[in-house]
């Protein structure tokens, strides 16, 4: 047996900016996180709309016109897709973060997620009716 100590643990460095390319599950996670940018951007858009509304009728009309441009439509479709992805991943994860018990029985995950989808659907209906679409 050699007399000196030979330990030299080797540390494998995780690349700080490229780690998520390693596995598909990390890519899906980053996609989910990136959706927040789009949701944030859409929130800003809504606030701009409110500001225009407060400004004057003309400003608001101009805003609505701008919304109908092809670029805007494309952005909205993208934002809707990302928002949907965001919401769906959130709803499916929610039951694990909030286990619900009725007395002794645990409410199945699908029910908890289902309630979220139901609430989403109802809120959507309310908004669409108020907007005069339905």
């Amino acid at each position: 047996m050699a007399l000196q100590v030979g330990r030299r643990p080797y540390v494998r460095v995780v690349p700080r900016t490229r780690w998520f390319f390693r596995r598909p599950r990390y890519m899906r996670y980053m996609a989910r996180e990136v959706t927040s940018i789009f949701i944030g951007a859409y929130t800003v858009l809504l606030l701009v709309g409110l500001a225009r509304l407060a400004e004057s009728r003309a400003a608001y009309e101009a805003f609505l016109q701008a919304l109908q441009s092809p670029a805007s439509i494309a952005l909205h479709v993208l934002a809707l897709a990302f928002a949907a992805y965001h919401s769906i991943t959130w709803f499916n994860l929610a039951p694990r973060a909030m286990p619900v018990r009725l007395g002794e029985m645990r409410v199945p995950d699908s029910v908890v997620a289902g309630v979220h989808y139901l609430a989403w659907a109802l809120a959507s209906v309310v908004v669409l009716v108020a907007a005069g679409v339905l």
Binding site: M1, A2, V5, G6, R7
Partner: protein, 584 residues
């Protein structure tokens, strides 16, 4: 050589070792405890035990009945004073474990539930789903973390005990990560290193069960007792040896031969009980030795299923239903499905007896003390004897608790009795000798002997000569073969010369320990000219209470098979009787 000083050193951090360490930390917090193990505690093989731990708590049960089941199950080779202590302490230990958080299964009213188990007249086996050993181990390990007086030495391989002035004063151990040898100086040493099932080719035991602690004591002059009693668990998966708990049968599973017959009724365990309604202590709930022996006999008649892994019987649990299996045997379902592609809910599972437990071990008295002052032992590595010639399922998981604690108390008593007297100038001699032995292994040139080759030959010898049924001729040949292997072992050399985490070295040392233990098994079996419990001979088929109501003691000799001696069994009130597992 670096010296680590402590008050009590515990070698082995499974159920017994952890329980001992906790007991010392609780009773005498001023005493330092060194908990030394060749693996991290959570890896100890206690984690693989499934079925449960027996303790009397229900109203229809009594200590006397647990006593009788245990003594009868052990074919009257158990020391009855120790069994009395054991059955009395068992429920206390299980309740204490519950207080520490163990997730025992419950009745609807919140009290602890018990299940039927082999060889027991009344249900008394506490269980945590079918991972009782896992939960016991993790409860103990996690509980141990709150005691600052317990210092852990994880992945240290103990190589030699140090004996000075007739007392055990410590041991040497290799710190595996650095390869450096350390000397542990302790006022008392408790060995809790488990069994040595890996000396056999088909076993439920994990890689680490190589009898290291047994060899430590053995080489220091302490006898190994009753080593010939090796338990075959009837239901192991045929390819990997993975354990399917006895609880499968406790919950109502049945054993069939290739013709679909519940053959146990032909071997004194009948009459056949209704399907799904097991009756305690008969048929599939007979004791393990009888069930494994029935398999062997039935196989000789050609009634076993021939599979590519050899002859098997079928463990049929389909009638239990998916709900019961998922609730009480989920781990069994997972194991059978993953490792054998067989779902017990829809198919019967082929199984065969595999080596599971060693009733024998380091000779201790009823207080876990060995004949070497300062050295104690507990758990599977020790032989008190509670289990006698055959252990009942679910007695071991509670024995480790009862005797883990008992060893701790004995160690404390011993330390108090010797006071602060320490050996005059603890010499470096024994430790240096241990170091030299290891260095020599490193410097040996590679020859034709390999660890793999010798290990395989040892396993083949054990399987052939020391299996479920033995004969004098085969045993004698076995003794000779093992002696040859011991001599050839001196030619083993290491391919791996690194210091850091050298598993080639550890495997070489483990092989040496297994060979020593194997010789004790073989010699004991050759010397015991009777059939009792798990030791069955075709040339001596009856039990001979006149000559062999005694324990076998095997004493290590360097260049020969062990010297044998015999010790009377302590009989207090239960005279040897007939082991009746029929339903009549």
């Amino acid at each position: 050589m670096e010296i680590i000083r402590t008050d009590v050193a515990v070698i082995g951090a499974g159920g017994a070792g952890l329980r001992a360490a906790i007991a010392i930390a609780q009773s005498e917090p001023r005493l330092r405890v060194a908990l030394v193990s060749k693996v991290y505690p959570m890896r100890s093989h206690t984690c693989a035990a499934e079925g449960g731990a027996a303790g009397v708590i229900k109203d229809d049960d009594s200590l006397e009945q647990h006593f009788n089941d245990t003594v009868g199950g052990g074919d009257w080779l158990s020391d009855q004073d120790a069994v009395d202590y054991f059955v009395r302490e068992a429920p206390r230990e299980l309740i204490q474990l519950e207080h520490w958080g163990c997730p025992w299964n419950r009745e609807d009213n919140g009290s602890v539930a018990v299940r039927p188990f082999g060889g027991m007249k009344i249900q008394r086996t506490w269980f945590a789903a079918d991972k009782s050993g896992f939960h016991i181990l993790h409860t103990l390990f996690q509980t141990s973390l709150q005691f600052s007086s317990i210092e852990r030495y994880d992945e240290y391989y103990a190589t030699d005990l140090i004996v000075e002035e007739g007392r055990c004063t410590g041991f040497t151990a290799i710190e595996m990560r650095s390869g450096q040898m350390r000397r542990f100086e302790a006022r008392a040493v408790i060995i809790a290193t488990g069994g040595a099932g890996r000396m056999f080719p088909f076993t439920t035991n994990g890689a680490i069960k190589t009898g290291d602690g047994m060899a430590l004591a053995y080489r220091a002059g302490v006898a190994l007792k009753d080593m010939e009693f090796v338990q075959y668990h009837p239901t192991g998966l045929p390819n990997t040896g993975i354990l399917l708990t006895e609880a499968c049968r406790g919950e109502g599973g049945v054993l069939l031969n290739k013709n679909g017959r519940r053959f146990l009724q032909d071997y004194g365990m009948g009459p056949e009980t209704p399907l799904g309604k097991p009756q305690l202590k008969t048929m599939e709930l007979g004791p393990r030795d009888r069930v494994s022996q029935a398999f062997w006999q039935e196989e000789r008649k050609g009634n076993m299923l021939e599979t590519r892994w050899g002859p098997c019987m079928l463990l049929d649990m389909r009638h239990l239903g998916e709900k019961v299996i998922d609730e009480r045997l989920p781990f069994v379902r997972e194991l059978s499905t993953s490792y054998l592609n067989t779902d017990p809910v829809t198919q019967p599972v082929p199984v065969r007896p595999v080596v599971h437990y060693m009733m024998g071990g380091i000779h201790t008295d009823a207080k876990a003390a060995t004949t070497l002052p300062g050295l104690f032992a507990a758990g599977e590595c020790a032989c008190v004897s509670i289990n006698g010639a055959n252990r009942l399922g679910s007695n071991s998981l509670v024995e480790i608790l009862v005797y883990g604690r008992r060893a701790a108390l004995s160690a404390i008593e011993y330390i108090e009795s010797i006071g602060s007297r320490s050996p005059t100038a603890a010499s470096a001699g024994p430790a240096d000798a241990a170091q030299a032995r290891i260095r020599e292994l490193f410097s040996r040139p590679l020859g034709k002997e390999t660890i793999t080759g010798l290990r395989q030959e040892m396993m083949d010898t054990m399987e052939r000569a020391a299996g479920i049924y033995r004969t004098g001729d085969e045993l004698a040949e076995g003794v000779t073969r093992l002696g040859e292997l011991r001599r050839r072992y001196a030619g083993i050399a290491l391919h791996d010369k690194t210091n850091v985490f050298n598993t080639d070295l550890v495997q070489a040392l483990e092989l040496g320990c297994m060979l020593d233990c194997a010789e004790a098994v073989m010699a004991g079996a050759a010397g015991r000219r009777e059939s009792r419990g798990a030791h069955q001979r075709l040339d001596y088929t009856g039990r001979d209470d006149e000559n062999f109501l005694k324990h076998t003691l095997a004493y290590h000799r360097r260049a020969e098979p062990p010297r044998l001696d015999y010790l009377d069994v302590v009989i207090t009130r239960s005279r040897p009787g007939v082991r009746d597992y029929s339903g009549h």
